[in-house]
């Protein structure tokens, strides 16, 4: 055993933490009498819930250590499995299997199948992809699985999963403790022990860890890497299924989103406590979260000012754990693969043309002046305009991610936290009025929040940075923003005004937003060409190299976070004004953050125009609605409204498996050669085509058989067809090639 040695700063942090906890307990003591029974019940419940978290978390850790992928879809797989179990066991119109059989079928058959399919279809292509892409694909998969579950088992009736033994148990004082809870504790302990043995004491377990370390060498040793990876994914999915099915009875009724939150957040926290690799620590972490939340619920009362505090134990702990983690090791001597497209930087006048085109196009479209010759969209009604406004606001929030994630490479899952903060400041400054002149002030005041996050984030990178921003999004969304001192539960705003001009109808507001968005895109195009843009990109390429050429990376990070917070905060003002009211309990859900980040990533987050991609969901809904009004083409309505709007973000993010650089990038690449001034794009295209031809010719006679057609192609390519080809074409070989 190594002795734990604490530095003075760590001791100080520990003492401070305990003192803070003490004050928290003292201030919020609910005044319940502390009885032996009450303590026992809270402890048993805590251990049981904690065991559930531990099962879920060990699954994530096993997948991470055996596949190298941190699987955000772990909860999603658990949710799907739990609903599948419901279908087999609980559904009154279904098979009504005994619960043990249902459990075995799902855990040993369905879940491993899901795992293997995931490995073969998605994860294989992701093996050498950058961490960001892996992350986005698994987050996309999570969103997709939740949507799929929600669509397959729609909310037409409440569903519940009974605990094992139908809730029988024994009584402690006035409280009932179910056998199910005891079983869960035993199962968690068993799983942790078995996994430990599997990973460290068996050859297949050692080999699964070896695959992550060095895939080629694993094969050279004679093990089958493909099979090992599939097994690892199957195992991970099974663990997710066990966790999902056992956690499900805690929820009544069963809901995909809630079940996922229950499984995912606590599990990520527990996994972080185990530093993503240590199984015993992960289990302890899960138990700690369970005990904290149950005892807190029993003894403390935070009043109505902190409505979501019960769900906040895990996020707060996650925040602390990620910050306290030992410095992540720098990957020395390895060039980090990043996917920022090696693009030609957009010129200022291209940006200007684009912005003006966007504004004009948007106006005409909203007025119904553009009808594409397919159908007459007509002038937009209020609902369509609202959708359009929502689209533009999302795009503005998306702009904030472009310098931060796209250029500086800092993953951020919390754009809405910044936007919400901006809306809050606007509310304090402008009161009920919607005076847009406060906008620059709001932006300036949001910058310090961004700088603060940067100070926390500065020493983290990759996965840990993503987890920190997730914790930030959760803490802001669960604790800070829903507090009534910040947003009265549902707050209404007046119509916005600008220089005394009241923007009191939706069309004017739409056009105003369009102008702001166009200006924002143009400004980002200019910024990308400035020395700041270059610095941020240099930092993403290699922080060490950037530092050696004299860039102060710390300051650069602070600036980019502050700038991103400014953009998001100002977008937040428009967001609040466009909604007219803010529902602080729902509007900052972490899932909403995920959708924004996913769509930006799928579009290609380094390009300012990618923000327009965020208009995707509201616009598909708007178009679906318009078509529905017209009463025509029901399948198109279904495609737009039901399929694309709901599955879009998840599917697009999963699509990054194939198209890692983003959709906007590829579209721009295809489109550029048409533009008259883009000779460089045409030359590049010609070069690529030439390289392809050379490659084909290079294989001729070796693995490509010489046919008359290829000889003809070769001659044409070389320009010698007229001199050499006999009249009437070649006559040897099969058939004749006419001249």
């Amino acid at each position: 055993m190594t002795r734990v040695q604490l530095r003075p700063s760590q001791i100080a942090a520990l003492v401070g933490g305990v003192a803070f906890l003490g004050v928290l307990v003292w201030l919020n003591w609910a005044g319940n009498a502390v009885t032996r029974d009450g303590f026992l019940v809270a402890t048993i419940a805590g251990l049981s819930v904690g065991s559930l978290y531990a099962i879920s978390a060990t699954g994530m850790v096993v997948v991470y250590t055996t596949t190298g992928t941190f699987n955000f879809a772990h909860g999603g797989i658990g949710v799907f499995s739990a609903f599948f179990y419901w279908e087999l066991v609980e559904n009154a119109d279904g098979l009504e299997l005994p619960n043990w059989i249902g459990l075995l079928v799902v855990v040993l058959l369905i879940a491993p199948l899901i795992g293997i399919v995931l490995d073969v279809v998605l994860m294989r292509s992701l093996r050498n992809a950058p961490m960001v892409v892996q992350l986005m694909v698994t987050v996309g998969l999570m969103v997709f699985l939740l949507t799929l579950t929600g669509q397959l088992w729609q909310g037409d009736r409440p569903r519940t999963i009974q605990p094992f033994w139908r809730g029988s148990g024994f009584d402690i004082g006035d409280f009932r403790v179910t056998w199910h809870r005891f079983m869960v504790i035993a199962v968690a302990a068993l799983i942790a022990a078995l996994l430990r043995v599997l990973l460290f004491r068996t050859r297949i377990g050692v080999a699964m860890r070896a695959v992550v370390d060095n895939r080629e060498l694993t094969a050279l040793n004679g093990a089958r890497p493909g099979l090992l990876s599939s097994f690892a994914w199957a195992l991970g999915a099974s663990l997710a299924a066990i966790a999902g099915i056992l956690i499900a009875p805690e929820l009544n009724p069963l809901d995909p989103g809630n079940l996922n939150n229950l499984m995912l957040i606590a599990a990520i926290t527990a996994a972080a406590i185990g530093q993503l690799k240590n199984l015993p620590m992960t289990v302890l972490g899960g138990l700690l979260i369970g005990l904290l939340s149950q005892h807190q619920a029993r003894w403390l009362s935070f009043g109505s000012d902190w409505p979501f505090v019960r769900d906040a134990a895990a996020p707060v702990l996650l925040f602390i754990v990620v910050l306290a983690l030992p410095q992540s090791r720098l990957a020395v001597g390895r060039v980090s693969s990043n996917l920022r497209p090696i693009e030609r930087t957009t010129t200022w006048w291209e940006g200007a043309i684009g912005a003006v085109a966007l504004i004009l196009f948007g106006r005409w479209f909203a007025r119904g002046s553009l009808n594409f010759g397919v159908w007459d969209p007509g002038e937009w009604d209020q609902i369509a305009l609202n959708n359009g406004i929502a689209a533009l606001v999302l795009a503005m929030i998306g702009l904030s991610l472009i310098p931060l994630t796209g250029w500086a490479g800092q993953i951020n899952f919390a754009p809405l936290a910044f936007a919400g903060f901006g809306a809050f400041i606007f509310l304090k400054l402008a009161g009920e009025s919607g005076n847009l002149l406060w906008l620059p002030v709001v932006g300036l005041l949001c910058a310090p929040l961004g700088a603060l996050v940067a100070l926390f984030a500065a020493r983290l990178s990759g996965l840990y940075l993503a987890l920190l921003s997730l914790a930030f999004a959760l803490v802001m969304g669960k604790l800070v923003l829903p507090h009534p001192k910040i947003f009265p539960t549902i707050h209404r705003f007046e119509d916005p005004t600008l220089f005394g001009w009241a923007i009191d109808n939706r069309y004017d507001y739409f056009v105003t937003l369009l102008v702001f968005l166009g200006f924002g895109i143009f400004a980002l195009v200019l910024l990308r060409r400035s020395r700041y843009g270059r610095r941020w990109i240099a930092m993403q390429d290699s922080e060490a190299a950037a530092a050696t050429v004299g860039i102060n990376t710390m300051l650069t990070k602070v600036v980019v976070y502050a700038f991103s917070a400014t953009l998001a905060g100002m977008a937040g003002v428009f967001w609040a004004l466009s909604k007219g009211s803010v529902d602080s309990g729902r509007d900052f859900e972490v899932l909403a953050n995920f959708e924004i980040v996913l769509l930006m990533a799928a579009a290609g987050v380094a390009l300012p125009s990618a923000a327009l991609f965020l208009a995707f969901i509201p616009l598909t809904q708007a178009l679906g609605g318009r078509l529905d009004d017209g009463g025509s083409v029901p399948w198109l309505v279904w495609l737009l409204d039901d399929f694309l709007a709901k599955f879009g973000p998840g599917l697009l993010a999963i699509g990054m498996v194939v198209n890692q650089r983003g959709a906007i990038f590829e579209m721009g690449r295809g489109f550029a050669p048409i533009l008259p001034w883009r000779r460089d794009a045409r030359e590049e295209m010609a070069q690529e085509r030439a390289a392809k031809t050379t490659a084909e010719i290079g294989g001729l006679g070796l693995d490509l058989p010489f046919t008359n057609e290829t000889v003809l192609t070769l001659d044409t390519e070389l320009g010698i067809i007229d001199e050499v080809t006999p009249s009437g074409g070649y006559t040897h070989g099969v058939g004749t090639v006419p001249r």
């Binding site: 860890r209 060498l217 050279l220 040793n221 004679g222 070796l702």
Partner: protein
Amino acid sequence: MTAPLLELRGVRAGYGIIDVLHGVDLVLEPGQVVALLGPNGAGKSTTLGVASGQIQPSAGQLLIGGREVNGAKPDALARAGVCLVPEGRGIFPNLTVSENIRMMTFSGRSYIEVQDKAYALFPRLGERRRQLAGTLSGGEQQMLAMARAMSTDPALLMLDELSMGLAPIIVEELYGQVAELASGGLSILIVEQFAQTVLGVADTAAIMLHGRITRTGPPNEIAEELTAAYLGIDVGGHDK
């Protein structure tokens, strides 16, 4: 006469559309120790990649024991007794020494057997069996990589730049082990940049330049030519 253990016939191979090997012919008879020498980028490692199944040849044949095995997976070849110790450190840095040794049992030998042999040959590994392999010194890491060759009794051994980045005394020690394996009748293909390192071990040497084997002969004769090749002097004029 028995078939050669390893034979490459007119092998072309490369990465993507770029060919690195332009028709390599190479024969390794049973019990022979061949050194493949040449400068950076000549295609030596690619040749080993083809022979171990990691890189599929785009043309030509790969024969092992006289049978064509084009398209065989590297893990299948490994189980059949082809052992490649790759360039750099052929170890799993995040596994312990004993777990690294456990990985060697996929070749078909039992754990006890492999373990005993490896620790007997390299007692230092035995002392560090619970340590993460990534925390070993460079020489110890290479010993661990070599332990797979020494303890799993392969039919064909291929070593890729064993000496790279190691102190001369350790290189000498490692090649001493290789010589011992060779005297036991194992067929070995050694890739190195410099001839001196393998003079005492190899009985044949081949020079590889620009994706072709340009000359084969006894190592001490080849050494001179190799120097000429490195200095950019035309090798073709030196024909005998």
